[in-house]
């Protein structure tokens, strides 16, 4: 496993470099883009002197590379993501992001818990029914759900379950509240508010999981040990659960990371449509009101999560399929 260790190390060394580039890029476009938070905050009645003063107080009148230097120094030495200007004035950025992350996490986790068992079940079902109409039909149904964007399915579901049937509460977020430090958040996981976002986030992922499971199941079904298991008279259920499923599910590890990424992007729409106070909605608000430090912190955190998830996926691939040489395909 010498190769794997070196490979992992090489990939991990890449992380800070990527984050440095990301932070610089983000910093540049926020600072050079027109419109600044102070002017936006001042609104209609702008007093140039006041705006100048506020900018001075916050160091926004400094040259941009000095601002970047100060920001990075505070971040690296004190773990300080800065201060919000327009979203929640004078709050520490981390205090704004942390509770919202915990809110966004709840539908995401429930979605994963729904998507994987459902995808596995559909995939194995389709593989066992290969050659009948049920195979393409079951996969196709979920493929349709995967193709249609969240921002189309979600309003339609709201129309049916909230407006027409009235089974689910009107949009919003609620549930028992817990204190998580800077402020308290609602545990929507214990209320009916979780149902719509979790459902909508989970459905697009099912098709990918189901197709992968179907493919691996089909290849496992052809193995000798499955024939042996059948030949010695084991009930079909045992054959599938013990001999087929166990070997067919290993490659799924690689999908977990990908699903996390999809969930993160989906959060932007579920939270905007349903009015959930999570990081997706925060991101849209921060970008629109140019809350520099909030944007920077969000992008950096998400980028870090992306990079790490991608590395974990790649390492998982090499574990599952040792034939993949660690980036050594150059020999031609």
């Amino acid at each position: 496993m010498q190769g794997l260790f070196a490979y992992t190390l090489r990939r991990l060394l890449w992380v800070p470099l990527v984050l440095l580039v990301v932070s610089f890029f983000t910093f540049t476009i926020t600072r050079f883009g027109p419109g600044d938070p102070v002017t936006i905050l001042a609104g209609q009645y702008q007093d140039p002197e006041v705006i100048e003063r506020v900018k001075q107080e916050r160091g926004l009148d400094q040259p941009f590379y000095e601002q970047y230097g100060i920001y990075m120094k505070n971040l690296l030495t004190k773990g300080d993501f800065g201060t919000s200007i327009t979203i929640q004035r004078d709050f520490k950025v981390w205090d704004i992001i942390w509770p919202r992350m915990l809110v966004s996490l709840q539908p995401g986790l429930v979605a994963l818990v729904i998507a994987f068992p459902l995808g596995i079940a559909v995939g194995i079902f389709a593989a066992l029914r290969q050659g009948t109409w049920m195979d393409p039909f079951s996969i196709g149904t979920f493929l349709l759900l995967q193709s249609v964007p969240v921002l189309v399915t979600l309003p339609l579901l709201v129309l049916i379950f909230v407006v027409k049937l009235g089974w689910l509460p009107a949009t919003g977020w609620g549930g028992p509240r817990v204190d998580v430090g800077p402020q308290d958040i609602a545990l929507g996981i214990f209320s009916r508010h979780i149902i719509l976002p979790a459902l909508v986030l989970s459905l697009p992922g099912v098709a990918g999981i189901a197709r992968l499971v179907r493919a691996t199941t089909l290849s496992v079904l052809g193995e000798d040990y499955v024939r042996t298991a059948r030949a010695k008279g084991l009930p079909e259920l045992t054959v599938v659960s013990r001999h087929v499923a166990r070997n067919a599910l290993l490659p799924l590890v690689t999908v977990v990371g990908l699903s996390l990424i999809t969930l993160l992007e989906g959060a932007f729409f579920t939270e905007t449509i349903l009015g959930i106070p999570g990081i997706g909605r925060l991101g849209v608000e921060a970008a629109q009101s140019r809350d520099y430090d909030v944007i920077l912190a969000l992008v950096l955190i998400l980028a870090a999560a992306f990079v790490v998830a991608n590395i974990v996926i790649d390492i998982a691939y090499t574990f599952i399929d040792p034939r993949i040489r660690f980036g050594a395909q150059r020999s031609g």
Partner: protein, 378 residues
């Protein structure tokens, strides 16, 4: 391609095709045998037809407001009803298709075709420092969180882009713009001729003019629709969106093409071409490009749905195309609010159904092309 294959079968597809039919024709035949793929193709063709000819097909202008007939349900005069400003919903759907088409075509041409194919070929064939530079840059882009970055770029750079376009329009009279469009059309024809010549290789005698004409006609149509972009008030938004999307959509394609080129450049026919003194550009253009073109088509068709979805998503989040320029994203946003859903669900249904069907069709076609063009994957 067909002629070339008949004369030099070994060059076009080593050992794959019987001499009678080119691999392309075989692939087309296999594609048309898939019922779902044909349905998807028809849907997409219909959508593009409607979008391209929106100025002729839409019963009303997308800006026409009638404040006396707001929020109406479907009627004979307004088959899909009217929105909160009394604008004809059907016309807005038709014009929105045009926005989607402009964004997908522009992003595919710049992001997928120029950037992905160009950089992928160069990176794979040249190797060394060029390869490292391109692939490391790609790696940085691939590790950026796509949607948040797109939101950020569009939210912050919008006024800049708008000012740039305003400057262009102020400094160039409409005549000059028309001249540029003419220039672009001529350039497109020249490019198409060049591409056809490169693709044909040496084996060509007479055939292929049909293909060339087809490519040229398609390009002219595309440019004609792009020329209309300048006339709409939101042109800066278009440039910003497809520019930002191209930045993020080239990496995947470039990687796949590079890895294919890595193995192709060691094949006998490339070695032979090099031994005969062919230039780098000739090898890239007439030996490698035709052999990676199936992957290019699969890649492009797979990304179409994502590109169309991205524009709609950005507009939905308020950082894409802005009112009054029509977009499905804005229509869905207006239709998705609770009070509207409660009282006027028709405002959501029309754009939602069109978008759902379109992106599903894109994905079906992408899947089918993947099956047809990369037989090893089956």
């Amino acid at each position: 391609m067909a002629e070339a294959t008949r004369e030099l079968p070994a060059e076009a597809a080593p050992g794959l095709a019987p001499p009678a039919a080119s691999p392309w024709r075989l692939a087309l035949r296999r594609l048309l045998r898939k019922r779902l793929a044909v349905v998807a193709l028809v849907l997409i063709a219909l959508f593009y037809f409607v979008g391209l000819f929106a100025p002729l097909l839409a019963p009303k202008d997308y800006r026409d407001q009638d404040l006396e007939t707001t929020l109406q349900g479907p009627s004979l005069e307004h088959p899909l009803g009217t929105d909160r400003l009394g604008r004809d919903q059907l016309s807005r759907v038709i014009w929105s298709s045009r926005t989607t088409i402009i964004i997908t075509v522009a992003t595919v041409v710049t992001g997928s075709l120029v950037l992905a194919v160009g950089l992928g070929l160069l990176s794979g064939y040249l190797g060394g420092a060029v390869d490292t530079a391109i692939m490391r840059t790609g790696e940085v882009f691939a590790s950026l969180p796509g949607l948040p970055m797109l939101i950020l770029i569009n939210a912050t750079m919008r006024d800049k882009a708008r000012r740039a376009v305003d400057w262009l329009e102020a400094h160039l009279s409409t005549d000059a713009l028309g001249f540029f469009v003419l220039l672009a059309v001529l350039g497109a024809i020249a490019l198409a001729a060049l591409a056809a010549w490169l693709l044909a290789g040496e084996g060509r005698r007479s055939g292929g003019w049909l293909g060339l004409g087809f490519v040229a006609a398609a390009l002219i149509l595309i440019l004609w629709s792009l020329q209309g972009v300048f006339a709409t008030p939101g042109s800066a938004d278009y440039f910003l969106i497809f520019g930002a999307l191209s930045l993020f959509f080239w990496v995947g394609g470039a990687r796949v093409i590079r890895s294919q080129v890595l193995s192709l450049r060691e094949t006998e026919y490339v070695l032979a071409a090099r031994a005969m003194g062919a230039s780098t550009w000739r090898i890239l253009g007439s030996h490698l490009l035709p052999n990676v073109s199936p992957i290019i088509i699969v890649g492009v068709s797979a990304s179409l749905g994502a590109i169309a979805g991205s524009e709609i998503a950005l507009t939905f989040l308020g950082v894409g195309v802005h009112d009054p320029t029509p977009s499905f994203g804005a229509m869905i946003f207006e239709g998705a609010s609770q009070p509207v859903l409660r009282n006027h669900p028709h405002l959501l249904l029309a754009p939602a159904v069109v978008v759902g069907l379109l992106i599903f069709a894109f994905n079906l076609l992408g899947d089918a092309l993947n099956d047809v063009l990369t037989p090893k994957a089956r």
